[in-house]
């Protein structure tokens, strides 16, 4: 025992406490969920032995995977997944963002009205919001407007939270209601349609057209998953970018520090208020970008767009292991969470279950993910 009092520090290192990356658990969960659906497909008599993700019969894509379904799953989660990237950062600071769905709605309306084309089949655009000055603007204008709207809405969230110290739940709840109001007021509830071809091409074009990646160009992941699926490409690129930012930059480190111990962050000289403004502003901007992709894909904007996307985005993050207590979670986790989310939704369709069952189960999954997180935290607290 004399040894412990001498060896200042004398920190025993217990190998069993070494952090096993949580992302591995989430990936295992993803695989298990796929297996459950596959098993159900084999067992339920009306499924006639269909497989969800595999296609052994035709092999028409050069793989044994059912690429059509995988493509749909990825595309389905891409746009909300982009929102979830921002929500992840917000939750890591210990906050919450309930406004992203409404920001999508408001941004959709506003950016679309700067993306309209003057003539539709030779006739004036019947849905025109502004006069001729706002028609056929360069593509950069609606993009800048869309990102700007998201940025402003997010900054307002951030400033309310950082400088008035009201709980993030309240601040973003206010934004959720107000931004939806803006979306409805903007065109008095009318849909806004007929964008320029360039705008429609943001989501519906093919970013990879003409690009080559050497030997990689012909690989199935490029030709089958991302070719002609722009939202999926943007999701992947943004996920890589923010993974890098959260892990290797000062911005990321301070975001984790605030969620981990806000007082410690403040005492260490981190400008906590400004950091929060940045995090919420980036989350808003990502919601704005999601709105651009969504309106481009649908070639129309409606005031109801993005309804309850915020909850889906939060669910993706929480399923992906982002702790609602703050400080823990990762972009990779959220991407995996988005995949789990997509597989479950798609799995219900595959099992031919009605949409209302999907919603019931979706709620259950969110609660289960939070329960799991609480349980993990308690276990961690007991260990230390």
């Amino acid at each position: 025992m004399a040894d412990t009092s001498h060896g200042t520090g004398g920190l025993a290192f217990d190998k069993s406490k070494r952090a096993w990356p949580n992302e591995v658990n989430i990936f295992i969960a993803l695989v298990l969920i796929v297996l459950i659906f596959e098993a159900l497909g084999q067992m339920l008599p009306y499924m006639k032995g269909q497989s969800m993700l595999f296609d052994f019969n035709t092999g028409r894509d050069g793989t044994v995977l059912n690429m059509a379904r995988i493509k749909i799953i990825i595309l389905q989660v891409s746009i909300i997944g982009i929102i979830a990237l921002g929500v992840t950062q917000v939750i890591i600071t210990g906050g919450i963002d309930l406004s992203s769905g409404s920001i999508v709605g408001a941004t959709a309306m506003i950016s679309m009205s700067f993306a309209q084309t003057e003539l539709v089949n030779g006739n004036p655009n019947p849905k025109a919001i502004f006069g001729p000055w706002a028609m056929d603007l360069p593509i950069l204008v609606p993009i800048a407007v869309g990102l700007g709207c998201g940025l402003i809405a997010g900054s307002i969230n951030g400033m309310l939270i950082a400088y008035t110290r009201i709980p993030p739940f309240i601040a973003t709840l206010g934004m959720m209601v107000s931004a939806r109001g803006v979306a409805k007021w903007w065109s008095r509830g009318n849909p806004i349609s007929f964008p320029t071809d360039e705008y429609a091409a943001i989501s519906n074009g093919n970013l990879l057209d003409g690009l080559t990646f050497g030997a990689f160009s012909e690989s199935w992941i490029v030709t089958q998953v991302f070719d002609g699926q722009n939202p999926a490409i943007y999701f992947l690129l943004l996920a890589v970018l923010f993974h890098f930012i959260m892990k290797y930059t000062v911005y990321g480190k301070h975001t984790y520090a605030i969620g981990s111990n806000e007082d410690a962050a403040r005492m260490s000289g981190i400008n906590v208020a400004w950091q929060k403004v940045m995090v919420y502003a980036i989350a808003g901007m990502l919601a704005g970008f999601a709105a651009i992709l969504l309106t481009s894909r649908n070639v129309t904007a409606q005031a109801g767009m993005g309804f309850v996307y915020e909850l889906d985005a939060i669910a993706m993050a929480v399923i992906g292991g982002v702790s609602l207590a703050g400080g823990r979670g990762s972009i990779i986790g959220t991407v995996l969470g988005a995949m789990i989310f997509g597989v479950i939704i798609s799995g219900f369709t595959y099992l031919k279950l009605d949409a209302f069952y999907q919603e019931m189960v979706k709620g259950g999954i969110i609660v289960a993910a939070v329960v799991l997180d609480q349980w993990r935290q308690r276990r961690a607290a007991l260990k230390s």
Binding site: G9, L11, Y251, N261, M267, S268, S384
Partner: protein, 258 residues
């Protein structure tokens, strides 16, 4: 003013509204000296430290560090000037590892033109952490372990290891062992002795009489916001100090202070 005075305060005062938490504190710390600050709860010990470290802005008074008058706008300023504080509430982020915590708020970075998105120099920070830990003889087998997975004593050691890593010119510890067990307290006290041997000046706030008598050269007693005694450790004992803390006695040079 000579350079062997590390810290000097004159008429340091802090009022919270009508509450006079700290009143006219004159204080001096010599190079290599370890001084304890004692006093009852609410006597102004932590308030005193918060004024020195820039966590709060003083109502009036002046502070000199190594002969230069200083006015810290915030804790980071104080840190940059070389004052390292181990706070009563551990200022550690549980989900980050040891180098992250040591460098929190003053990360080593590359590509600084990227502004808030400048790159962290993980390798540089790890190397500096290992060097700093060696200097204080704090042993941490895996510095990449998160703070959450460490015991109270280990956490306190990490907080103290900051001092060594940054070549601080003055270390302040605010009740570093209040929440620790016997063995962990012994570990922390050993680190304090290391600092003494290395000639690092230290201000220790503590309620633990045995610890104070073991570790420091001089004891300053606060009562009701004022300094009421300045005692040499060799010329006093526990009972004497308690008398000052409780108000049974007041130092001759502080007559009428409280």
């Amino acid at each position: 003013m000579s350079d062997d005075i590390v810290l000097r305060t004159e008429d340091l005062t802090k009022h919270y509204g009508g509450v006079h938490a700290l009143e006219g504190a004159d204080f001096e710390l010599k190079n290599g000296e370890h001084v304890a600050i004692m006093g009852d709860n609410g006597a102004g010990k932590s308030t005193f430290v918060r004024q020195i470290t820039g966590v709060e802005q003083r109502t009036r008074g002046r502070i000199w560090l190594y002969g230069d008058e200083v006015n810290f706008a915030g804790p980071l300023d104080a840190r940059e000037a070389g004052i390292e504080t181990v706070f009563q509430t551990l200022a550690l982020a549980d989900d980050l590892d040891v180098p992250d915590n040591l460098f929190l708020g003053r990360e080593m970075t590359k590509w600084n033109w990227l502004g808030p998105f400048r790159m962290l120099d993980y390798k540089g920070m790890r190397d500096a952490t290992v060097a700093g830990l060696e200097r204080t003889a704090v042993k941490i087998p895996n510095i990449r372990n998160t703070i959450r997975n460490m015991s109270g004593g280990q956490r306190q050691c990490v907080a103290i290891a900051r001092t060594a890593t940054f070549h601080s010119r003055l270390t302040i510890m605010d009740e570093p062992t209040a929440a620790l067990g016997v063995q962990e307290t012994a570990q922390v006290e050993n680190i304090v002795r290391q600092l003494k041997e290395a000639g690092e000046p230290l201000i220790l706030i503590s309620h633990n009489m045995r610890q104070v008598m073991d570790l420091v050269d001089r004891i300053i007693v606060f009562r009701r916001g004022r300094i009421v005694a300045n005692l040499d450790r060799n010329e006093t004992d526990g009972q004497d100090v308690v008398a000052y803390i409780t108000g049974a006695k007041t130092g001759t040079e502080y007559e009428g202070a409280a």
